[in-house]
């Protein structure tokens, strides 16, 4: 065992600072359902030099990287980073790796590193206006792939993309949607595959440069965080501004550039996606959007904002019965609010909750909706003087 790399993990993640308090394990949604999983113990093992035990324990793949423990750790141990580096180390040792969905998502990402010309923009219909080059870029993320891979759940992740462009068009923006965009690579990174992550990061960085984009809007919080915060760690800073669609819409609503009409649905509750909330601190933007819809109520859900619970699996490695239980806990909480619809602002939340709702274990009344769908469906159509409302960019 390369002792150096273990030492490096300990240093980089502040593991040595662990005071053994157990706040992490106490907070961990996985530990709640899986007694064999303990972030504290993993950190302890690492510090003691028992990496072999971590390596052989499948539970290292259970972490959802939801950030709850890191947020609460009084000693600043970066457990997300700990997981990332540990998995990278495990991969180096040719251990059996964990995957879900028969590895097809990772496989697709790997193929994207090879620089083929993709055909990922064919979903853009005539009614949507996009440009070849421009200052404003919409980053689709893996939505076109999810559309194919999750067909069996009878969901259409691409609707989110369509609605996003519709919203942007409404705001007078004709965004660049680029065929040479690739997966942000975050999931590969958290699978421990830094090598392919870097390849993807480089392709995207090049793509952004060539497109001339100054502002990039995202519907996927994970892509957003990756481009905004992780890429610079590896590839240096850029001047490009990265924002989530809810930021853009909230601002437009505030400034009166976009008005949302009442909806047939009156009672909503909202799921804070881990990365949008804890990761990027965007708690109020989506809430303000929902609240701006006339005659609606945004019902508070048990454990929200920084205490919110993850939708379950992460990085396409850890779909287990534990994650399923976490999903049911969360959906149960959503149901209890009395809301008709649970709004999510992350495609992965949408996929994972759809899967849990499709099962026959529990009967839920609550429906699921992506925030872009809500915005697109309630956007007022009467105000048609879009030109005067053109946003900068």
């Amino acid at each position: 065992m390369a002792k150096n790399s273990i030492d490096e993990i300990i240093k980089k993640t502040n593991s040595y600072l662990c005071i053994d308090c157990g706040e992490c394990t106490g907070s961990c949604p996985v530990s709640r359902v899986n007694v064999n999983y303990s972030p504290r113990l993993n950190v302890e093992k690492m510090v003691l030099g028992y990496f072999d035990e971590i390596k052989k324990d499948e539970n290292i793949w259970s972490c959802l990287v939801c950030g709850l423990c890191s947020k609460r750790c009084p000693s600043d141990v970066k457990y997300d980073e700990f997981i990332k580096l540990s998995r990278k180390e495990i991969r180096k040792h040719n251990e059996k790796l964990n995957y879900s969905h028969n590895r097809i998502i990772q496989k697709s990402m790997e193929i994207m590193t090879q620089g083929n010309t993709q055909k990922r923009t064919e979903w853009i219909g005539k009614e949507l206006k996009v440009s070849k080059k421009g200052k404003f870029l919409y980053f689709t993320g893996c939505l076109p792939y999810f559309e194919v891979i999750f067909e069996y759940l009878n969901i259409h992740p691409l609707e989110t993309a369509g609605n996003a462009v519709k919203i942007l068009n409404k705001l007078g923006i004709e965004p660049v949607v680029n065929n040479s965009e690739v997966c942000c690579g975050r999931d590969l990174l958290f699978n421990g595959d830094e090598e392919n992550f870097l390849k993807l990061a480089k392709i995207n960085t090049k793509m952004l440069k060539e497109s001339g984009a100054e502002k990039v809007v995202f519907t996927c919080p994970e892509c957003l965080e990756t481009l905004k915060e992780i890429y610079p760690e590896y590839l240096g800073k850029t001047d490009v501004e990265f924002i989530h669609i809810t930021q853009l819409v909230e601002e437009a609503v505030k400034k009166g550039k976009l008005e949302l009409d009442s909806s047939s649905i009156k009672k909503f509750t909202y799921q804070d996606p881990c990365i949008l909330g804890r990761g990027l601190g965007l708690y109020d933007e989506p809430r303000n959007i929902i609240k701006s819809i006339p005659e609606t109520e945004l019902l508070p859900i048990e454990r929200e904002r920084e205490n919110s619970i993850c939708c379950g699996p992460s990085a396409w490695v850890s779909c287990t019965n534990y994650t399923k239980r976490i999903q049911h806990v969360r959906l149960g909480q959503a149901e209890k609010t009395g809301a008709e619809v649970l709004i999510t602002a992350c495609p992965k939340c949408y996929i994972h909750f759809s899967c849990a709702l499709s099962g026959d274990d529990e009967d839920y009344k609550i429906k699921l909706m992506d925030i872009t769908t809500l915005i697109a469906e309630t956007m007022k159509s009467k105000k048609k003087h879009t030109d005067s409302h053109r946003l900068e960019g």
Partner: protein, 162 residues
Amino acid sequence: MKKKKTNAKITKAKMTKAKKIKKKTKKLQYPKIITFACNWCSYAGADLAGVSRFQYPPSLRLIRVMCAGRITPTFILDALTDGADGVIVSGCHFEDCHYISGSRKAEKVVETTRKLMHLLGMDGRRLRFELISAAEGQKFATVAREFTEEITNLKKEKHGKK
């Protein structure tokens, strides 16, 4: 049969003559095609092609699966990125599928894979879905010949473009 043998001899003689030159060029001549064949129909179809001595190019590498429905998109994409020029997924005819719905499931998987290949900018023609029964040795050989040719042309096309 006898005729074939003499043919073989002639070819053999020819081959030794131009062995050194031919060896390299010949190797290039055939693409590599991974064939996932179900145990009950298509594998047996390949057997029958052999028993009937239907000749086809030595491009296929057959992997036996119990049912074509065992295949996942990842298997196919793995094959294509590991080095296969083409992939055939072959199962029983729908109505005689040994596993009732296995062939249909396989068709669905191939469809999904094609969609992904399309998104990923890979040539969907590199993937072929076939229904070959145990009685269709001729079909197996024909598919092998045609697909080898198609893949060879695709490769040429690609090289030409470059």
